[in-house]
Symmetry: C2
């Protein structure tokens, strides 16, 4: 075998190529069976890790992913994640909120609070009965984190599902996409709270980080608005993406990511906020997406999935404790989100079928959940076994939306038009 | 100062943002004074290194570029270079050769051989009089390398200069672009020879590496042609860039780069060959360029310039030996290339003014030279001082083309049309 002779750089390059191909081909396969491609990409990452490749060829892990190589891959994954979160922020369309806010905010709020509370309770219970899963020293942080992880809805995946099924054209889809946008913001706020709480260990200690981050958000969204508008005007005048302009925008996203990491939250928030701060609906936004998204989503983001997959060991899912834990997580995640959303929708007078669709759709956790879980794992809030359980939950809640919608009669209505800009193609 | 508290990852990210902005803003400044942007990007890299930032703020180098950070930056630079060489290969247009080959090949050949021979002689002389610059143990390799470095013409920079001045529409420009394309291939062949020679230490030992690389080129350019044509048909049918297709193409470029590294040449050749092997003039080629080039050229490639700049110490250019060496290098590089090209052009009956323009244009060394020099430095064929001398030569030969053309009356004829696809925007 030729691999042992490869240098660190060559091994990193082999890994990048391998990860890209495996995740995109599995993503494509999933798309062909009517599932979101993100399922395939997560599965691809898991397949390259100890769960499959490592189980079949144990030597593969030390050959392909030795420590110095992993460190380099992690840099690429973080860079990819930062740029991706920037693109996600760039894509948020506040106009989608207009008019539908009253009902959507109630659905969102209850749909976040119910799984949050149930997740906190489950976290506290796990700390008692299975301290291996959720170490006792992180008691409050651990249960807060479990709650947050349960409350997630993945905006990008959901947007794609709704678009592909032609549901964005009907009130159901418009309601759900509005709820998902609110959930997205609520989810990131919760995560920011948990992270700063985990650093300080107390609610009082968590405030400065959140306050600083809030201040930075104000600087970006209000203070720098005139500057951002100038960027847009500059672009409209030139009618092409000046390399210096692109460099400034990308550097801004990266520096904003570092600011929020330094305030004690996480890189991803700053990158997301910077995307949010750029002018919406203009040609600059579309151009930025066109010329950066594909490479970020094809070359860099799959490395993030692979790193998640390397941290996932499906074989831990055996024995009564683990299976019970998985079952409990699924019940809380699915049940909490479904009951919260469905209940409010029914109370507001939505027909049964539509309320059920809202409940299933809002369960989609996709990539957002994976980002949250990796943060939790690297903070030491959850251990590797619980990480694996939660990754399974993310996969299952994302994969079940399609078939359940089909059973409710919301099949694939029409192909999406190639003209309308799509959310990132992988998700 | 807040920098010391930053993690490796944050420092790498700060560097990436800083490098991107400095190099693109300087590149833009250069474009505004009528110089190729690549001059600004190289200067930006030098400014961040020991020559300027390190001289003014010595602490900056250990804060911004400590060893573990440099290692990570180097990965990004290499990945950028590989993807960039792939894009360069993708851009070669063999049709440009048609019809103009007889004269162009003579101009190219003499324009490569003369500086090659003079460079070898200069190398041998330097080994005698200044062994610090060119270590004696690499005697043959060192002089072969000097010859190769003198013989370079930078196709991408030249293409851009010709296009910006509207010269591609007249026979002079068409002749020069054809010569540059031939020079490009000759230059890479020479470099491949020098690298395999430096590994084996003898001409006989260099053959296997070249033979294997040649075989790989045949596999790609002939053996895989049907497969490549299928990619193009697949793309035409879908009319959008399937993420799986993009992943396959990029993975192919990366794996091809590793193959040529393993045959004993260098990553860059395999990436270039893979670009060359993809179908020309089709929509797939344009789409690949549109969706990958900007990010590669804005985010990753400037890191390559910065790493070159960190290896450059302008302050070594003092004392009679160094200034004599710089003078000799400039005389050989400029004189050899100019006389070779101008002479053949005159002999073929070109008017004096056109022959002079050919001589000055073919002197443009730009990015290609920097790639060659970095290979030489990392192989230990040249030392850091000679590296700096040669970088200066690359800058001067690239910067002088514009003013000299202006004096010959080939001013900026017309702005380039935004419709025609351009060579990478930085170069």
């Amino acid at each position: 075998m030729v691999l042992p002779a490869l240098s660190v750089l060559s091994t990193v390059l082999v890994d990048v190529a391998l990860i890209m191909v495996v995740s995109k081909l599995l993503g494509r396969l999933m798309a062909q069976v009517g599932q979101p491609p993100v399922i395939g990409e997560i599965l691809g990452g898991i397949a390259l890790g100890p769960s499959l490749l490592g189980a079949v060829l144990p030597a593969s892990q030390s050959l392909l992913f030795p420590a110095p190589v992993l460190e380099q891959l992690n840099l690429l994954a973080q860079l990819g994640l930062i740029l991706f979160m920037f693109l996600i922020g760039l894509e948020v369309q506040p106009e989608q909120l207009r008019g539908r806010v009253p009902l959507a905010s109630r659905v969102s709020l209850v749909g976040v609070l119910l799984p949050l509370l149930l997740g906190i309770l489950l976290g506290l219970a796990l700390e008692q009965v299975a301290p291996d899963l959720l170490p006792h020293q992180n008691m409050v942080t651990g249960s807060l984190f479990m709650g947050t992880a349960m409350a997630i809805t993945a905006f990008p995946v959901l947007a794609r599902i709704l678009k592909e099924r032609g549901l964005l054209a009907i009130p159901l889809g418009q309601l759900v996409i509005t709820c998902a946008a609110i959930d997205d913001i609520l989810g990131w706020l919760l995560l920011a709270g948990v992270i700063s709480f985990s650093h300080s260990g107390s609610l009082a200690g968590a405030w400065p980080a959140l306050l600083l981050t809030g201040l930075w958000a104000l600087v970006l969204l209000v203070g720098l608005r005139p500057l951002m508008a100038r960027l847009e005007r500059h672009y409209r005048r030139k009618r092409q993406l000046d390399p210096a302009l692109l460099a400034l925008v990308l550097a801004g996203a990266i520096l904003s990511a570092i600011v929020t990491e330094m305030t004690g939250v996480h890189y991803i928030f700053g990158a997301f906020l910077f995307g949010l701060a750029l002018p919406r609906y203009g040609p600059l936004q579309r151009r930025l997406q066109l010329q950066t998204e594909q490479l970020v989503v094809t070359l860099l983001l799959p490395i993030f999935f692979a790193i998640s997959g390397l941290r996932t060991t499906v074989s831990v899912l055996q024995g009564p404790t683990m299976l019970l834990a998985l079952g409990a997580v699924l019940v809380v995640a699915i049940g909490g989100k479904y009951l919260g959303c469905w209940g409010v929708a029914r109370l507001a007078g939505l027909p049964a079928r539509e309320a059920q669709a809202v409940g299933w759709l809002m369960n989609t956790r996709g990539l957002t959940e994976l980002v949250v879980l990796n943060v939790g794992l690297s903070l030491g809030v959850i251990g590797p076994a619980l990480f694996t359980v939660m990754v399974m939950m993310a996969l299952i809640t994302t994969a079940m939306a399609g078939p359940l919608l089909g059973r409710l009669g919301y099949g694939r209505i029409g192909a999406r038009s190639p003209q309308t800009p799509l959310p990132p193609a992988t998700l």
